[in-house]
Symmetry: C2
Subunit: 452 residues, 2 copies
Amino acid sequence: MPASLTDGQLNSHKQQLGAALEKADLDLVSILINADIAVGDIAHLLETTPHKHRLTLWDFVADALQGEVLTHLNEDIQQSFLARMSAEEIVETTHDIDNDDLADLLQQMPEGRSSRVLQLLAPEERSQVEGLLAYPEDTAGGLMTTDMVTVRGDVTVAAVLRYLRKISLPDALDRLWVTNRQFHYQGSLALTVLLTAKPSSLVSDIMNTDIKGIRAGEDEEQVARLFERQDLVSAPVINDDGIVIGRITIDDVVDVISDSAAHNMMSMAGLDEENDTYSPIVKSSQDRAVWLGINMATAFIAALVMSQFEASIAQIVALAVLSPVVASMGGIAGSQTLTLMIRGMATGHIGQSNLTWLVLRELGVGLINGSLWAIVIGVITFFWYHQVSLSLVIAAAILVNICIAVLSGTVLPFFLKAANIDPALSGSVILTTLTDVFGFLTFLGLATLFLL
Amino acid sequence: MPASLTDGQLNSHKQQLGAALEKADLDLVSILINADIAVGDIAHLLETTPHKHRLTLWDFVADALQGEVLTHLNEDIQQSFLARMSAEEIVETTHDIDNDDLADLLQQMPEGRSSRVLQLLAPEERSQVEGLLAYPEDTAGGLMTTDMVTVRGDVTVAAVLRYLRKISLPDALDRLWVTNRQFHYQGSLALTVLLTAKPSSLVSDIMNTDIKGIRAGEDEEQVARLFERQDLVSAPVINDDGIVIGRITIDDVVDVISDSAAHNMMSMAGLDEENDTYSPIVKSSQDRAVWLGINMATAFIAALVMSQFEASIAQIVALAVLSPVVASMGGIAGSQTLTLMIRGMATGHIGQSNLTWLVLRELGVGLINGSLWAIVIGVITFFWYHQVSLSLVIAAAILVNICIAVLSGTVLPFFLKAANIDPALSGSVILTTLTDVFGFLTFLGLATLFLL
């Protein structure tokens, strides 16, 4: 594993590479990409290379490294590369990567291909990988590697040390799993303890029993929170019988953490976190077109509501000017609440259990801020149009709309989650529709009632 | 370190605790919070307890655990607890936490207090903590702990093992740092290697030189990316002379990663990621009021633009109904681009170097989607109002506004970054102002020119 570059070095490297690719100076490209840099950096360089040059660059990556590099790429790009390889090439390329990474790659391929790849694997490896494929990608089982070291509790430290010298140790190994004769998980033995323990002492006497086995079916986000709360570097995965079947390491958990955080942020703009910034223009346009279409629909719904009041607007044009203000204040108040809820759900701080409490709390916040900005906006409106009645109407509309916004912002994500819809993805659209519709309804409705 | 609870157990525990606090059944509260659970879980329970009960709960946390629990709490809450303690109590409470965590706590206190706390520390610890305080919180130096093990390259494995038995090893230790006689960083020695190496072999012969020392001044986000790209568990920190001064461990990096991702998401809604979901209503209202105020200002700017066209609107009310559609389409297109840029900057995928390329690319995406939705919206408008001219005007406005939106979405974050303004925080406001203003200007402007 060569040294990783600092961001600075990586950027200058990136620019030289970009220039070389533009000039089609392939010798230089080959030198730059095969310069002694870490696979993570090579992956980064590929990800930041415009689509049209990417395949050229990929072909220059040393065959010995391609497997490891693949595992560091985002899914979009992994697929584009894998699609060009034959099953044989895939096996050849990936022979040296962890079997959990291989399982992840296979999970993205069409059924037919992945099974062809599996058939080409050595029997033992195939059964391991097939075992991993049995678990959904987003569970502890999907996250784990079978690359672990287990020892029995009734042996001595000396015996363990002899054993370790015989086998090849997986990287990032910080603890061994201790089992009984039936391979049931008993506890873990930290290397730091092993290093300083008396050779004669029994494993079961010095093992740590605080790190509990994680069930293979556990959701990956729960696993990530467990690692965060307990500052784990690795954790054992057990099946329903309590038998140790694998090991989850922090590097995979880090990916889960950054992906899920990115997912929430990107989803709120209708984007996919695996989205490839350097994909061709047409593909990006398609990726974003759908979201624009959905939002157009909601905008027209709001427009339809507004059009019901054309008669009023024709008489008081100020209504047309002020309606967007009412709608947008609701939108902001709502999206703030929605963001807090989505974040709270991700960190496990917010759950069904405290929904009622949250609703009351947010309603309180809504009433305070609603009243505050109702007054401010009412006053501004008065100094602008010199109509007390108009000011009162907009103030009322602001208060109502902000309260509706925070309430829907609080309840919506729970409904969506219950319906198995991703709140981060659809929440913001539904919310803005609500705040626009109710904003126009309350403001124009009240205006029609009291001002005409 | 007791076992950490699964999310399920944690939630049921949370509910029992909430009930007990409501009923003021303090015996039960004390039993529940002192049940044998991990400090990370205790911190989680405190964070998810409504403000008014939090201090009660805190007082029931065993004194021996309070220090560790403090380090797991979010800053808002840390401060609220620390504010109630005397310097003596703080020293007493935090005597068993890592000195980097202590430094983080001190960094949040008013000058006077932190210095009083420092004076109460044992000379050696004080100098260590003061050393750490010298580095800004968001640098490698601010992230590191001085709790590390260094060995010389010219000693044997046997000597190292003897040495390790004499000292107490820091937790999550996976590698020792190897230095020369002048303490210059030379490389690292993995415990896995140490365990299986011949006792007679020299450290310098078996050490790994791929993990380079991280300069203390390095930005924490760059450190995080380095850990991610190279799947590190710990890394050495060096000063400008190349002397090893500390060690960064993955658990601190994980916090950086989830914080920075959360920061971007929360900032885009004008929220602080350290925001305490369970803080009192009034505080939350204040936290969010500012953002609502700023957005009100932008909404009124847009309204002011619209009001310039009151005469046109009075004649064609349809303009009032359709203007928000034009503005919102721009808003969506812009926020998608902005989100991609902010995310790309965070992952280091996007930088000054490829700005021109990005602008052209986004402009392409804007033209494609702009034309597409211009046509769709033009057609819808025609079937709604049966006016070809009106349809053409709105189509043109949509195309122009979407292009303006993607362009500003691309360039804005770079300008803000150059001006040391957080793009995630102010980007979305500025962007919506632009898309609203230009949306109204183009649509109402063109309408006034061609339809009246």
